[in-house]
Amino acid sequence: MGTYIVRRLLQMIPVLIGSTFLIFLMVFALPGDPVAGRCGERACPEAYVAKFTQDYHLDKPVLVQYGYYVGKLVRGDLGTNFYGNSVLHELAVRFPTTLRLAVIAILFEIVVGIGAGVWAGMRRGRWPDTVVTIGSLLIISVPIFVIGALAQLIFGIKLGIFPVTSTSGTWWQLLLPGLVLGSVSVAYVARLTRTNLVENLRADYVRTAKAKGLGRGRSIGLHTLRNSLIPVVTYIGADFGALMGGAIVTERIFNINGIGSFIFRSISQRDGVSVVGAVVMLVFVYLLMNLLVDLLYGALDPRISHE
């Protein structure tokens, strides 16, 4: 187990290097000059352009720029963005907010999604099943900005139950956006759980367990559900990574100062250093989540072993 984790961690290094390089190339390939447009509707003064170009090595070939970047990266320095701020600091400020938002959304997915899925799966073909199916279809088909804006209008502005926007990113301020953000995934998790549960309930081993006289709770909870959760855990793991990438739409509606809006702004500013820095962090989160999911497989299904 220990060697497996170490091996996986070592594998991350080439992935990180490869992904930073690709992102760097992509940002570099975007049309337009990062300096143009920094001076409103006018052309920037030559001296300003010159200093800016020099400070950020914009006149060097992309490989040289990348070299500068990696040189800093190995020292744990994510560089300085076009606002003159340390990218590491910018990310550190936003990371807790995004993490809180993602945790709320994921908890919502796990509790409500799996709960609804089990409820529907156990009563296949009866009204709870229909309710969950229709409900999840509805949520999946409505775009998230509609759900977000509606939730904000109803619960924030009209009823005043929740804060309208997030000002400092506390748990309470992020509750409503977190639920909005998790809503689509809740629907997917519910459907995924239901389908897998229904399938596994027909499996031979469940019949055997019943024939042996094993209680309903144990046969379903311990055996069937554990087996059914493997695809669900995979989905939730990947989703957590995606949520950490920031929920650009939700963050904009509720004015959450997180990673998503930071990446959005940086891309529109051609601020390559910020984009790459944020993506490095995201890739890292993704890889960690992947590892965690793989380890969870082993816990859910003893037949899967990492030794």
Partner: protein, 530 residues
């Protein structure tokens, strides 16, 4: 002898009674956005930083909120006899937030630093009129000053006479220099700035009614400076500029009274004036010093004919587009100048900017027409496509000329293409003024070789009239000359005016006295708590 009139500093908009120092004015929160650069005044040329600088810094002059006329702020007087040598006398009781007095050398040193090319400040071009500016620039062949430092690091046109007096010499006569000195870039800098610019960037020190407290990813906070002795003190004790990611979130917060003011309203709320009922009795529509024009490509041979340009201009139904597409947030332009400024002349563009399908058709026939498809280029990141489509349709329906909108991914791309003269057909161009004078809408854009002259426009007559305005003895005379220059544009039509911008502003039920300045920016220091 042209002495800038010293208006009595009575209660004018931002001024008025100051609440007793000691903190009874309460605190307000207003919409802010992330400044592009650290808040060094001469490095701030964009809106987000400017919002904060309006409270942090004071300049020699202050623009009257209602008339845009310059009023003396840090200056006691600015005098000149020839529009080329100006004597500036300072008030002796004004201080920076660190307690040091604002003296003549704080201006001279700051301006020399700002104009010195190796410092690479964004607003360095504002100092161009001052004698010796060129000596502070890099040799022309080398924009980086890598091989050769500029010839000097002090402009010969600036001289300290005594602690509270200095003189400015300009290369050419500039009759509206005093009016220009109200722009952010001309703010003085305290002695501590020159010792450690980095420390200043982390904690800017100005001479304005509010001093800097903190800045992070979500908020910029300023608090009232109790030592401020100027005529426009702040009313509230603390102003927080809360950074918003989107217009909608800020709007929702103001409607719900969680935010005290915003100057942006989402498009959806403009429909049927929804915003005016959402924020009934707490809204206003501000005129801005911003104008949009449609420019003709200098490299499109077919468009060289002014008659054809006039035909195209007359085929654009401005009133209809501003009403239908902009939902009243734009006003049709009858001039190349925004209506909030000194020297604006209503109707300067005359019938050329008036929608007249019959005459447009006649002129189009007369001009020989345009072969192929006329294109109109706009940037895709500024919400320009709807009006561009409407404009194209207007041209198409009136002249029978096929017109297509080209959308670039973003403004940067469009600007690059404009700079490299790659665009054929027409393209959009916007201008946000730096100082409220008609001259600011002419010189930087249409003078031969000007920095923002993307149209290769060059007219000796126009340049001559600009100069005549700059040497004029009085501001009335100067404005008359500049208005004549504008008439040359009517003849040549390098661009055609489309509309000027207005800004919807709303505020919460907790505050009163929300006003906007000639730039369309909220006068944050004047806002009062109920």
């Amino acid at each position: 002898m042209a002495v800038v009139s010293m208006l009595a500093a009575a209660c004018s908009g931002g001024g008025g009674t100051s609440s007793a120092a000691g903190g009874t004015g309460g605190e307000i929160t207003v919409r802010g956005c992330t400044p592009q650069n650290p808040l060094v005044p001469a490095n701030t040329t964009e809106t987000c930083g400017h919002y904060v600088l309006t409270t942090l810094s004071s300049q020699l002059v202050h623009y009257n909120v209602d008339t845009a006329a310059p009023e003396m702020d840090l200056a006691q007087s600015i005098e000149t006899t020839d529009n080329q040598t100006f004597t500036v006398k300072l008030k002796q009781d004004r201080t920076f937030h660190d307690g040091t007095p604002v003296k003549a050398h704080n201006f001279v040193d700051a301006w020399n630093y700002d104009a010195y090319a190796p410092n690479g400040l964004n607003g360095s071009s504002f100092f161009e009129p001052i004698q010796g500016f060129d000596d502070l620039q890099c040799p022309t062949t080398d924009t980086k000053c890598a091989t050769q430092k500029p010839a000097a690091d002090k402009m010969s046109g600036l001289a300290v006479v005594d602690d509270y007096t200095f003189t400015i010499k300009t290369t050419e006569p500039v009759s509206n220099l005093a009016l220009r000195l109200g722009y952010d870039a001309f703010a003085p800098l305290p002695d501590s700035f020159f010792k450690d610019p980095k420390a200043y960037e982390a904690k800017p020190i100005g001479a304005g009614p509010y001093k800097f407290v903190s800045q992070d990813a979500s908020n910029i906070v300023v608090e009232k400076d109790p030592a401020y002795k100027g005529q426009w003190p702040g009313h509230t004790d603390k102003i927080t500029y809360r950074i918003y990611q989107s217009t909608d979130a800020a709007y929702a917060d103001v409607v719900a009274n969680n935010l005290d003011a915003t100057d942006e309203v989402p498009t959806g709320m403009l429909v049927n004036d929804q915003w005016k009922s959402d924020a009934a009795d707490r809204n206003l529509t501000a005129k801005e010093g911003v104008i949009q024009v449609a420019a003709f490509s200098p490299v499109d041979e077919q468009l060289k004919n002014p008659t054809l340009r006039k035909a195209i201009s007359m085929a654009i139904n401005r009133p209809e587009i501003t009403k239908q597409v902009f939902l009243g947030t734009r006003a049709p332009s009858d001039s190349w100048v925004a209506p909030t400024v000194d020297g604006y002349k209503a109707g300067a563009c005359g019938d050329t900017c008036t929608y007249n399908p019959d005459q447009a058709k006649a002129l189009y026939q007369q001009s020989g027409g345009y072969q192929g498809t006329l294109t109109l280029a706009v940037n895709g990141d500024g919400g320009h496509k709807p009006w561009a489509d409407a404009t194209c349709n207007s041209i198409k329906n009136t002249l029978g000329l096929d017109c297509q909108v080209i959308v670039t991914p973003d403004f940067k791309t469009l600007l690059d293409q404009m700079e490299n003269r790659e665009l054929k057909g027409m393209f959009r161009y916007g201008w946000q003024m730096d100082y409220p004078s008609i001259e600011d809408f002419l010189t930087p854009i249409y003078q031969t070789g000007a920095s923002s002259n993307y149209f290769n426009y060059s007219s000796a007559e126009f340049d001559g009239l600009l100069k005549a305005g700059n040497t004029a003895k009085t501001s009335t005379e100067a404005n008359a000359k500049w208005q004549e220059a504008e008439q040359v544009l009517v003849k040549d039509l390098p661009t055609v005016p489309l509309w000027s911008t207005t800004r919807p502003v709303i505020w919460s039920t907790n505050v009163t006295n929300v006003k906007v300045d000639p730039f369309g920016v909220i006068v944050y220091s004047a806002i009062q708590k109920k």
